[in-house]
Structure formats: C-alpha cells, structure tokens
C-alpha cells in the first residue's frame, strides 16, 4: 500500500455515465488482487476526500479504475486528461480470495461489475467462470467482453435492450441446477445482494458466497471508522480494511 502521484494515460467513457481511467504508477505497489480498490484524488483542493474506486484491470504498473459519474467529484475526475497527475492510494481492502474453487459463479449488477472484472482477469484459465451480469439498459452495459473471454456469460437488462429482460440474480438462479458452483462472488447494489442471499437460501445453495460492499469512506485504510458495516454478530466492521469483500452471511445488507 502506497500513495503515489500517478500519470493519467487514458480517461474515457465506456458506457453512458461510466468512465474508465488508466493510471501509470511511477513504481510498483506489489500485487493488486481483484476486488481491491484505490483511493483516487480528485486533483482539486476543493475536494478533500479521495474517491474509492474499484480496480478493474492491472497491467504491470498501469491500473485501470472504473467509475460512475455521480457528483461533482467524479465529474471533475472525468475532466482529467492524458498526462495529468493524480494522487492515488492503493491497493486497499482485502479483495476476493477464490481459494481452491474450480467453478465460480459471478453475479454483477451495474457498477458492481468493476471489481469483478479484475477478479475474472486475475484467475482467467485457472477457474471456470459462469458470469451473470445485469444492467439497467444497453447504454449502461460495459466490460461484458472481459467476462465473455474467461467463461460463460449471461447478460441481462432491466428493459431487455441487451440480452434477456430480467435481473442477474434471477438469471443465476435459473441456471443453478446446471452449473452447481463451488463459490459465488458478487458485487452490486444492496437490493441485488439481498435478492442473492434470498435466492441462495431458497434454492438450498450451500456454496460459499463472497460479496463486495460499497460505502462512503474517509481514510480508506481503516483508521477513521467512517465506512462501518454491521456484522451478523452485531459488531461493526470497516468496509475499507476488513472488507470490502465479506461472506454474504457475515454482514447485514
């Protein structure tokens, strides 16, 4: 984990309201695991907080982060051009550990596909992936090729404009009998993660399920206790340091 002044190599739109920024790091930060994230400076002192963004792809010392244009900060980041310098703190969080899993189901919703893309790239060829990726509509779809390249992919949209009309959890549940995964990994809005937990329970799935959570953060390294989530035992966990990846049964969603 280091904070570095990175050089922007590319900052481009990959879907409506979705950007991918590639940063050239001046030095290695060690291994970056899929599901880990980076805290990226907005590059303007009017914005004291860095933005926690999921790492989508790693290529040597080049790191690509994807982000949704959400507020003034992300819009400011979107203005960064090749050659600009931005401070970035990474890698942060625990990331996904697939252990010895051989057949992994990937369930992603909307911007939740970003960290999952890095996971499937990291384990490509070593694991059989079955990905179920959902978007609101065709114009918001991105990174689908990453999942298609490493295994079987089902894309669905809320409005049916790309793939079947439906949601990722339902598409996964429909396939359960066929794929019998030994691990499930997921990232998406809380409503999707809750639906996933119900689907696993309703279908008697006993395979482990890991989910990545999102929360507003301060330091990003576990010191400030801003990004708390509730564990099922009632205790707090830090999304940035203890997570963002948790067992789905271990946290309140």
């Amino acid at each position: 984990m280091k904070e570095l002044l990175a050089t922007v190599k590319e900052n481009r739109q990959i879907a409506e309201g979705i950007m991918a920024i590639t940063l050239a790091l001046p030095e290695s930060v060690g291994k970056i695991k899929g599901g880990q994230f980076a805290n990226l400076s907005v590059g303007d002192s009017a914005f004291p907080l860095k933005r926690p963004l999921g790492v989508c792809s790693v290529n040597g010392n080049d790191v690509t982060l994807c982000y949704q244009l959400k507020g003034d900060g992300t819009r400011k980041i979107a203005q960064a051009e090749a050659g600009d310098k931005l401070s970035v703190l990474l890698p942060l969080g625990n990331g996904f550990d697939l252990g010895n899993a051989k057949k992994v189901a990937v369930i992603g919703g909307g911007v939740g596909v970003f960290p999952l893309a890095a996971v499937v790239e990291e384990y490509a060829g070593k694991v059989q992936f079955y990905s179920y990726i959902g978007f609101r509509g065709r114009q918001y779809a991105c990174l689908t090729e990453v999942f298609g390249n490493v295994g079987e992919l089902t894309v669905v949209t809320d409005d049916g404009s790309l793939g079947a009309k439906g949601n990722a959890v339902q598409a996964f549940a429909d396939d359960l009998g066929k794929i019998s995964p030994d691990l499930i990994i997921s990232c998406g809005p809380p409503v999707m993660l809750r639906a996933l937990r119900s689907a696993l329970k309703d279908n008697g799935v006993t395979a482990k399920c890991l989910v990545s959570l999102e929360e507003r953060m301060g330091c990003g390294i576990g010191a400030c206790l801003v990004c708390a989530c509730k564990k099922s035992d009632g205790r707090n966990a830090r999304v940035c340091k203890d997570g963002p990846v948790f067992d789905i049964n271990e946290v309140e969603l």
């Binding site: 907080l49 929360e215 953060m217 400030c224 206790l225 801003v226 990004c227 708390a228 340091k241």
Partner: protein, 301 residues
Amino acid sequence: MKLSVEICGVKFGNPVIAASGTCGFGREYNELYDISTVGGVSTKGLTLEPRSGNPVPRIAEGKSVILNAVGLQNPGVEEFIKNDLAWLRSKTRVVANVAGRTLEDYEGICARLDGLVDMIELNISCPNVRAGGMALGIKPENVEEVTRLCKGALAKTPLVVKLSPNVESIAVNAQAAEKGGADCISLINTLTGMVIDIERRRPVLANNTGGVSGAGIMPVALRMVYEAAHAVSIPVIGMGGITCGKDVVAFMMAGARAVQVGTANFTDAYAIPRIVRETEEWLSAHGISDVNEIVNTLRLN
C-alpha cells in the same frame, strides 16, 4: 533545527500531532510511514464502554471541507489499554482523547488512564446527559465543572480540554477550562454543519448534521486560537484545516504551542510527515533555528 516542543512537561519531537478520529490508534498510518515521525497521536475518542457509533453514511464533503458524524465508535478504553497503548507509546506521544455521556463517565475514564498516557484530551463536544443532551462544551459553567471533576481524578497525567467552536465566546470558554484546572486547551473541534443531497431532498449524513473540518474552516480556527491563547495563560494546541507547513506557522504565530492535523490525512496519506518537513523548511528559509521562537509572535494591525 529544533522542532521539539514541551507542553505541560511532555516533550513532543515536533509540534505536529495527529488529530483525534483521523488516525485511529496509529497502526494503519504506520503501514504507510513510521508513525514515530509524528509529534504525537491524539487517539480516536475513547469511552468507558465500547460504542458502535452512528448509522452510515457518516461522512460527506463540502467545498474544501468534510463533515463527519461517526458517533464515537470505539472499542472502549479497556481494549485500547490492552491492545494498542503499549505499542503506540513505544512509537510516539499518546494523547488519549476521551468522552462520556455523564460526568461520572468522564471522571471514570480519566481515573483509568491516569499515569498510562502522556496527556488526556477531553472531548466535550458530544451530547451529554448532564447538559440535557447538549454538549458539555457549550456553556462555560459546564466546561468548568467537567474540567474540575476530571482534574480531580488525575494525579499524574496533564489534562487538555478540547474546546468546541460552536459557542458564544471562545475566550470565555477557554477561561472556564483554565479556571476548572485544565493544564492545556486544544481547539477547535469541528463546527456543526449540514450537506444536502438536493435530488433526494435529504441531508447526506444519516445523522443529518456533522462536524465540519478541513481547509475551509482554517480562518475561523485561527481567529479562535488567537482569541483563546490571549485569554488564558495555559498552553494552547491549535487545529482546524491545517494542510501544509505554512499553516502550522500561522497557528503557532497566533499563539499555539503545537498543532493537530486531521482532515489533511484523508487528502494526503503522508500529510503529517510532509507538514513537519515543510514547517522545518519554512523555519530554515527564515533563519529560525527553534520552532518555539515563532509562538505568539503575531502583531495585529
């Protein structure tokens, strides 16, 4: 170059202390740099019992400021003593920031930490039973009362009272702390504020309001540090929006003997070592060989 400062008999290697709540108990930042390079660490606010804090979101951003409403989440003073205190003391000076719901809570936690830490800093900006749910830090009579009670529980460790800026007169409250027996005051704690998500017509923070900190509040903090430092004879630790060495110099000129840095740690994870270095550079460039020489050297127009 002499950067060390002595406050109430406690020697800090340099005048830059990590502000409470931004640095935990020092372990996480120690993964990024040697935490012994900071003058001291004011711990995450400690209470007698563990606290789980407020619902999320607990943080929001305004222009050049942030707002937080963490709600004193902490593992409780016993866990701190058991797991973190010895380690942190082996690295740097430890200022234990403490809070409570009742006066007895404050007295109890001070008694528990007496002799175990370098300084105790009272957070009197949290809602308190004694003040009818209002913070103890608002009315001077409450400031004096809680200070006197805590001072009575301390035989060995110097007492710092951290003043709230959300008050009628910072000078009067500073004097109240001094009258109650405070060995030192620190200020400013956060200003109370709100950020609204206009699309949802709701405050961003789950708690609706939160404490405003960061560069945007520095002029307010400087003015208050100046007023407080000139109202009391005990030492003052200044804070509020420091992001660079020049800011440290300004606070010390206004009367602070040391400073604390909080929000800047989020903007730049290496903020404190950088700020220490920049302070030293400014002093060198101005032919000053001892940081203490700049304290209280402000001349008004």
